[in-house]
Symmetry: C2
Amino acid sequence: MLRLTKKADYGLMALKYLAEHAGEPSLSAKDIAEAYHIPPQLLAKILQKLTREGLLRSHAGMNGGYSLSRDAKEISAFEVIRAIDGPLFITSCTTGTSTCDLTASCTIKEPLARVNESIVELLRNTRISDLLDHSGREEAPPELVTIASVS
Amino acid sequence: MLRLTKKADYGLMALKYLAEHAGEPSLSAKDIAEAYHIPPQLLAKILQKLTREGLLRSHAGMNGGYSLSRDAKEISAFEVIRAIDGPLFITSCTTGTSTCDLTASCTIKEPLARVNESIVELLRNTRISDLLDHSGREEAPPELVTIASVS
DNA sequence: TGAACTCAGACTAATTTAGTCCTATACTCA
DNA sequence: TGAGTATAGGACTAAATTAGTCTGAGTTCA
Ligand code: SF4
Ligand code: SF4
């Protein structure tokens, strides 16, 4: 529970990838899917959704593909998640389909809404550019990590 | 997605209820379930789990039931959620069962772990006593740690 | 034209969550 | 002591959500 869907996960990966390759003209869904071993058709749908929501620009036809519609600094994780999975509620009250029928007697709805808002705020403050790897301490020892680049 | 399970939800309600009725000796699962119209057997299991995790004290037999094992101020929403649903990960990497097989190539795992940690921190700072209804009160907003500020 | 794309929706499969059932055990009080 | 009320716990089914597939379009461009 309290888990991101894989679709949102894939979407974030794709956007990060596009941000890293901002120079190149256009990357196809297939390109990105292969880079990360994501099911290509699934990623295609995700990118389509992101395009519809205005986060990406698409280009059909040969050598077509996707590119960010804004700078990576201007796209928040929250937008991505919402575009893919719809509005974010940690409670089941307002899922759209099948509202929790305890809403009348429920007393924690409102306090949890505040927690919800905090999480949204947190995701809003997390931008695609923040996902970019400038602290690669995972695999091979990074060459020359300066103090400046860490802070 | 990013939704609390109803079980966790019910658990929080129950704990809040117990906190409100701290004076009374012992409230049975049935009592609480009826107060909120929660399926009694389901709530029973939840309370059992919370007892096993040490958040509640149980008392079998007539006029038995449950009571908080600590003050409401000392129990965080995070503990409740973890007790009921297990460890909290927003990504699917480490669910225990069926790890995401992209872990090798995935590049957003680590940044998302930081987001995860922020959410955990937020929930850790939300206590049962915070759910109690002091409407209008301006509580100290839980600290927001953004990725950017984590540098 | 046709290869390489995006776009869209319906569909199925897999997984997770919600809720039930049934039995055993513990405690209390008359 | 034994009837009644409660917790404890496992196995099970049902419902909902998520993941992924398939099919058939419409675009672009060389
Ligand atoms: S109404 Fe109360 S119980 Fe129902 S989903 Fe909202 S918070 Fe959870
Ligand atoms: S490995 Fe990457 S893709 Fe797989 S779950 Fe973790 S974050 Fe999401």
